[in-house]
């Protein structure tokens, strides 16, 4: 498809002789609308011609020119995207050329659904996902938490689930992202997807070994920066997913629930990484975790211990959630009322 050249860039479609046969359709013909938008002349012109094309049902090369013009001015114009897609298929355009164009637009219009969804449609046909991972990684350099970008990556991996090659570098990729920012929740979520969410990879069939590996990983990251809800949520997530009790982590967690102690051993224990010197303790998520350990014991005695911890959260360490901690207290006391 011919790119928009510098000469024709300033010309509206109404001024181009090659478009003279198309009848433009005004947006509001018989109605004086409420709350109109003050479009630029170029946008109004392009969309008037788009409505004309849709009316006639034309699917041709010049439709690609027109829809590209609209998309560049309003990347959220989903009808233009949909019509473009149908046109690409109807006139058998080579889709890798289209993908290259999309590379440019995606960077500019990262936060728009349609730019990413269009890629999905193309990939479903081209079936060449390998280059996409690199493209997605580049996009994430610009916006490390872009929702569309990450969910597109997950879609790609899930859709091409059978291609083991696609998955081999994925854990390393998550590692890289978490090294850049251990608080990037999108990266933690992706880790969960890669390790637990989409089937079992070759060589990872021993799930208890994987769980052990992940527990060490998340504990190390907690010790680096304990007040990081992403890491704690990941820890809770993997325990719940594997139906593993929280109690196994009691020794690890306990140290994070109190201020720094003056006597610290320097023994390195992978299973029990202690909080780094700069950590701000006690850490609310650790206190919460310890309370959950007690609650899981299901005895009245343990529920009372949990109650003390929840009370400390409500009154001191996490006061914004006071009502929630009070709710937890009520719940635990009711659950153990027969154990008195």
């Amino acid at each position: 498809m011919p790119p928009i050249g510098e000469d024709s860039a300033s010309l509206k479609f109404s001024q181009k002789p090659e478009w003279a046969d198309v009848v433009p359709v005004l947006q509001y013909e018989n109605v004086n609308p409420l709350a109109p938008i003050f479009y630029s002349e170029e946008y109004k012109d392009a969309t008037d011609y788009f409505r004309g094309i849709v009316k006639s049902g034309e699917k041709s090369d010049r439709v690609l020119t027109l829809t590209e013009a609209i998309i560049r001015q309003n990347p959220a114009h989903y009808s233009a995207w949909y019509y473009r897609y149908e046109t690409l298929l109807a006139i058998n355009t080579p889709l890798d050329v289209e993908l290259k164009l999309m590379d440019e637009l995606a960077v500019k219009y990262l936060k728009t659904y349609q730019v990413w969804h269009h890629r999905r449609l193309l990939l479903t046909i081209t079936r060449k996902p390998a280059d996409e991972l690199e493209f997605i990684a580049r996009s994430l350099k610009v916006d490390a938490k872009n929702y569309h970008t990450w969910s597109y990556r997950q879609w790609l991996l899930a859709y091409f689930n059978d291609e083991e090659d696609l998955w081999t570098g994925e854990l390393d990729f998550v590692d890289t992202m978490l090294n850049q920012d251990v608080r990037n929740n999108s990266a933690w979520h992706h880790r969960f997807f890669v390790v637990w969410g989409c089937g079992v990879r070759e060589g990872e069939e021993d799930r208890s070994r994987i769980l052990k590996r992940e527990l060490i990983y998340v504990k190390q990251n907690i010790s680096l920066a304990p007040n990081n809800p992403s890491a704690w949520n990941y820890l809770r997530g993997i325990l719940e997913h594997n139906s593993a009790p929280y109690s196994a982590l009691k020794d690890f967690v306990a140290v994070y629930t109190v201020p720094h102690s003056t006597d610290r051993t320097e023994i390195v224990d992978l299973e029990l990484p202690p909080p780094d010197k700069g950590a701000e303790l006690p850490c609310a998520q650790a206190i919460e975790f310890l309370a959950d350990i007690y609650e899981q014991e299901c005895t009245r005695e343990a529920a009372l211990k949990a109650t003390e911890l929840w009370r400390s959260l409500a009154n001191e360490h996490d006061t914004i959630r006071k009502k929630y901690w009070e709710h937890r207290i009520r719940d635990a006391l009711e659950a153990t009322k027969d154990d008195v």
Binding site: A35, Q73, Y78, F193, G278, R311, Y324
Partner: protein, 523 residues
Amino acid sequence: MSTKPLHPTPIDAFSTPTSDVQYETESILLKHFPPTPNDTPELNKNAHLQYLVRNLVQGFPERYTSQDASQPWLLFWTLQGFSALQVAMDPGNRQKAIDTIMTWQHPDGGFGGGPGQAPHLLATYAAVSALAIVGRPGPNGGWDQIDRKKLYSFFMSVKQPDGSFLVAKHMEVDVRGIYCLLNTATLLDLLTPELVKGTADFLASCQTYEGGFASASHPSYEVRPPRPEYRTSSKPRVLASPRPALGEAHGGYTFCALAGWVLLLPFTASSDTAPTLSLRLKPLLRWLTSMQCTRASLGGFRGRTNKLVDGCYSWWCGGSFALLEALGVGGIQNASLRAVEEEERVLKDEEGKKEMGRGGREKEKEKRKADEDGWVDVDDSLYDQKALQEYLLYAGQHPAGGLRDKPPKNADAYHTLYCLSGLSAAQHHVFPSKARQKEIEDAWVSKGHYEEDNLRRRVFSSMLSWVEEEGASRILGGKGNRVNATHPVTNLTMTHTEGIMSHFYNQRVPPRGWTPGLTGGKI
């Protein structure tokens, strides 16, 4: 407002881009703190009204070209903003609104983002919701010009085998679309078992390990015998696993999934249509409460873990708590008498733990006394509603009118509405009343086939069972700041929700009277 020194979010001497931007945001918000602990903030209703009126009458500036495919949204945000501010439109503009909306209806059914644009679930929701506010029965009223039959066909044409729906032909699947479809179908009496088959399961599959919901999930299907004669059904079965969520837990998607689930309750209750997956309520509650920021961010809500506060999540997250009440979580009407008595008993037995206050009825009496700020802590909400109101009033209002994400950003139509809706959710306790539901069911006039009619009656009565708890509103800054109560599912007023539904279901809705005792006098 506590006079304790503020605790900025801990950094653990380990800064990353996330903590940098969080710190920066907290520094800015510090400037918006109440000047004194006893300060009474004012909701500048007039300025916000003028902001909305300007958009409506003068039109939207050129940068709103990016919303050209969302014209129904621009109108809905504006009209519902008026409703929240207790303002009705004049007849002239009302008719103009109806006429504008009807140009968005597509000849093939459904509404698009503008005239001639392809039908889209989100545009349909916004258009129909706008009609609920300004429309009426009869010629040129909008309601009777909606082509329901073609709309239903459009819905079915985007339905996917895994229970989800594309938002439009060739477009994406996500839970926003499902909420929009279910809400619209409920208002217009278009819900059928065929339409919603598999949808509850899809919603449940979007819940992530964090407890909130993602935009969508990815299905896998059973491997089927290639020869048709060996297959047991015409459509392949979605497998329980792998069915990964696509994207992390997010406030907007969580609201949509939860509201969608509540809309499906009349279906999920029956054993025929019961979903195989259920929601994990405990992690969901935990995640929702964890989305409220500390007072360093003035108690507003964020949309995802480790991201920044944003006024619109006041509705998406703050508003979700009311939906949880429909699932038995929170709300005084759900409180088990046993739980309250048990707490009372335990606390009586405990020595030296007076700071919890006395339990049970005595505790209720204590709560009803205003604290030193005049705030009556009578509510049983599970998040800090007062803090949320503080965020909205001190940081959410733009000085020139309209409401916003956070300072120093400009106001926009989207944030203006969702901040107002969030304020409404924080001011009022709106809950599903069993007494009201019964009143409505008793007034139902049966028509048509028994089973189908039963279902319609269940749908109708559940949607209209939401009532505002009398005398339980808590308005920071005084009565002048009151905004209208909002229906937690539709984000319209209860009156507008009733109006459009009574028309489409052709039923009389008994007037809302005083609701005697939320728990039927038990507590």
